[in-house]
Symmetry: C2
C-alpha cells in the first residue's frame, strides 16, 4: 500500500473536535450537551444578509474573479479605510474563509524549513496551515498569570534565526482573549523592521473588544506597511461561518500578487458567500453594538461565575469570545471527557476544549481549558454550575 506523506502523518487533529465522539455518545444516551468547545456563534447574521439569502434571484452560479468580486473588494475597502485611509481594493484579496487567507499567506512567505514565531497558546489550526507548508512554528510561551501578555522583545529576538520569516499573532486572541496594546504592537513593529520579517496578524475578532478598550490594527502602523499582512474573515464578525469568506489585506504588492497566483490555482472563492458578505457590509454599526453587548454580558457572567469556583484561575478576556481557565485538576482533557461521559445536572452536561491542544508540543500545559462564550447567558450560568459541581465530585 502506498504511503501517506510525512506531513500528512504529522498533521495534528483538531483539538476542538477531539472529544466529539464522547459528545456524540453522550447525546446518543439522551444527554443535552452545552457546546462551549467551538466558536460557532449562536447569534444570527445581520437581517439584511438573511433577507438577501432568501431572495438571491440568481439564475447561474459562475466563478468570480480569483481575487474576489471587484464590487465586493471595493465596498470592503471602505470598511478598511476607516481603520487606515490608504487601503484600496487593490490591497485586498478575497479568500475562502480566514483559513485560506492564512494558508495562502504562509505559502507566500514560507518555503519548507522556514520558521514562524507565534505566542503560545495559539489558534490550533495554525499548526495545520504551517505543517502543510512544511514550515515550523517557534512557540513563545505566554503566562496565564500575566493574562497572556505578549512575550518580551528579548524573548522574540532570542528565537529569531536565519530561517525566521514572520511573527504571527492573533489580535484579539483566540484562544486567550488577549488584546495587544499599541505599545506592544509598536514593539513588534520594531522587531520585524529590524530583522526584515513579516508581521502576520489574524484580526478576525477585531470588532469584539470590551470595557472601552480599543482594537489597534497593524494596518495603522505606517512604518511596517511592507511587512504587514492582515488576515480577516466574515465568519465570526457577522456570524456567517458557513459562507467561507475571508480576506488578505496588505500594502505589500509582492504579497498580494503572489497570493493572487495561489488564488488563481483554485479559481474563485465561493460566489454566493461573497454576495452575502457584500450585503453584510450594509448592516451598520448597530448590528455590532448589539452583538458586542450580548457577548460582553455573556463574558462577564461566565468569567465571574467561573472565577468563583474554588481553585480556578480565569483572566478576564479583553476581546474575541474565548477565555482560558486553569482548573484544579491534573489533566483537563480527562476532566472534559468525564463531564461528557459520567456527569450531568438535570441531564445536561458541558463540552469544553482542553487547552493543551492550543499549546505547542514544546510547552504542553495540561490543566487548562478553553471556553467559548457563544451561548446565551442562562445556558452559560448552567454551564458554570455544571463545571463547579463537576469539579467538586471529580477525582483525577
Amino acid at each position: 500500500m502506498p504511503k501517506i506523506s510525512r506531513k500528512g502523518i504529522e498533521m495534528p487533529e483538531s483539538p476542538i473536535r477531539k472529544l466529539v465522539p464522547f459528545a456524540e455518545k453522550a447525546k446518543n444516551k439522551g444527554k443535552n450537551v452545552l457546546h462551549l468547545n467551538i466558536g460557532q456563534p449562536d447569534l444570527k447574521p445581520p437581517d439584511c444578509v438573511i433577507k438577501k439569502l432568501n431572495k438571491l434571484e440568481l439564475n447561474k452560479l459562475e466563478y468570480s474573479h480569483s481575487a474576489g468580486i471587484i464590487e465586493y473588494r471595493k465596498k470592503l475597502a471602505r470598511y478598511y479605510k476607516e481603520i487606515s485611509e490608504d487601503i484600496t481594493f487593490n490591497d485586498i484579496l478575497i479568500t475562502t474563509g480566514g483559513s485560506e487567507a492564512l494558508n495562502t499567506t504562509i505559502n507566500c512567505i514560507c518555503d519548507p524549513g522556514d520558521e514562524i514565531i507565534i505566542p503560545d497558546p495559539y489558534y490550533a489550526n495554525y499548526n495545520g496551515f504551517i505543517n502543510s507548508c512544511s514550515a515550523t512554528i517557534k512557540p513563545l510561551l505566554c503566562d496565564i498569570k500575566k493574562e497572556f501578555r505578549l512575550p518580551s522583545i528579548e524573548d522574540f529576538e532570542k528565537n529569531i534565526t536565519k530561517r525566521t520569516r514572520a511573527i504571527l499573532i492573533c489580535n484579539p486572541g483566540n484562544p486567550t482573549g488577549a488584546l495587544y496594546s499599541i505599545k506592544e504592537l509598536k514593539q513588534l513593529s520594531n522587531i520585524v523592521k529590524k530583522h526584515d520579517l513579516f508581521l502576520v496578524t489574524d484580526e478576525v475578532y477585531r470588532e469584539f473588544v470590551y470595557d472601552n478598550n480599543v482594537h489597534n490594527s497593524i494596518l495603522t502602523l505606517k512604518n511596517i506597511q511592507q511587512n504587514s499582512i492582515v488576515i480577516d474573515s466574515v465568519s465570526k464578525r457577522y456570524s456567517m461561518c458557513g459562507a467561507r469568506i475571508g480576506a488578505i489585506i496588505s500594502k505589500n504588492k509582492d504579497v498580494i500578487n503572489t497570493a493572487l497566483k495561489f488564488s488563481q490555482a483554485r479559481l474563485s472563492p465561493p460566489t454566493i458567500g461573497q454576495i452575502l458578505s457584500m450585503e453584510a457590509l450594509n448592516s451598520g454599526k448597530k448590528y455590532f453594538r448589539d452583538i458586542i453587548n450580548e457577548y460582553d454580558k455573556r463574558r462577564k457572567t461566565l468569567v465571574k461565575l467561573i472565577n468563583k469556583i474554588d481553585g480556578i484561575i480565569c483572566p478576564l478576556p479583553k476581546g474575541a469570545f474565548y477565555c482560558i481557565a486553569e482548573l484544579p485538576v491534573k489533566n483537563a482533557e480527562n476532566f472534559c471527557k468525564w463531564l461528557l461521559e459520567d456527569f450531568h445536572i438535570d441531564n445536561t452536561t458541558v463540552m469544553l476544549a482542553p487547552a493543551n491542544g492550543f499549546y505547542s508540543k514544546k510547552n504542553e500545559v495540561f490543566n487548562q481549558v478553553r471556553i467559548a462564550y457563544v451561548l446565551e447567558e442562562e445556558k452559560l450560568k448552567l454551564a458554570a454550575k455544571i463545571i463547579e459541581k463537576g469539579l467538586e465530585l471529580y477525582r483525577d
Copy 2:
C-alpha cells in the same frame, strides 16, 4: 522589505488568464470577445438547483462538518455506487471545489521533493497545487498526432524514481479531450501496483463523453483500491462553478483520514454550495442527456470547421469540452494576442488559450491552442471563421 517564498516566486501564472489584459483592452475599445479560453460553461445548472437557490429558507449560516454535510455525502454515495457498488459515504470527503480536492490529496501523499508523473499537456493548475507542496511534476509528453494517447508503460517506468509518489491523470482530459480506454487504465493499474504508487484521477468531466464511448472510472479497478484516489467536482458537471464544491473519493482509509485532518484545519466547505450540490443530485439523467447533446453538437461543429482551416490539426476530442489545435504559426500566443488586439470580423474577435501554458517547461510546444467549446453553436461558427480569416491575414 521581507522576501516572498521561493515557491511563491516560482508559482506559475494561470495560462487561462494570461491574456486577460489584452481581452480587457479589446473590450474597452468596444470589441465583442468570444471566450473560448476558459471552461466557464454558458449552460445553466439544473432547474431544481436554481429553484432551490432562490428559495433557500435559511435563517443561519453555520459551519458544516469538515468532511461535508453527512446527508450530502450519503446521497452522493448513491451516485458513486452506480460506478462502483462498494463506495460508501465514508469513502467520500467533500472539498471546496475540485481544486481543494487536488491540493489536499497532494498534501496527503507528497512531502517536499516528492514527484508526481503526469501526461503532458495537463490542466495547468496542477503546477500550482504541486508547487505549493514543494513537490515536482515529472511530465510525460503525449503526441497530438497520436490523439494524446497515454504514454507507454516503458515511458512511465523510465520516469519512476525513489521520490515518485503518484501518477496523476485527467480522464476525460482537460486540455486534450482524450478519453482513456479500460486497457490503458489497466496498464496504469499494473504500474502503480508494481511500484506502490498512488493513482490520482481527476474525473470532473466524467459525464461528458461522446460518440457512444464509455467512461471508465478507476473506482472500478478492484485490484488498486488502496492506490486509487478520485478527484471530483460539481463545477462543470452541473455548471455550478461558483458553488465551489468538490470531493475526494478513495477506499484507502489512510487517505481519507489524512485528508480529513487537512480539512479540519479549514473547518468546513461552503455550506450553501453543499446544499445546492445535494439538490443537483435530484436532477436526473435527462439533465445530462440534454447538456451532453448540446456539447456534442458544439464539439462536432467546432472541430469540423477548425479542421477545414488550412494547416490546422485538431484531433476530435472524445470527452470533456476542450480540444487542442495545432496552428500554422510559430507562436500561438502571439497569434492569440494579435486576434485580441488587431483583428475582428464585424467588431467581434476570439480569445483562445495558448496551449503552451498547459505543457510543462520541459516540453514546451508553441504552436498549439486550447479551445473550450462552451459557447452556443452560432458563436462557435463565427469563432471558427474569425480564426480562419485571422490565420489568412496573420504573419508571424
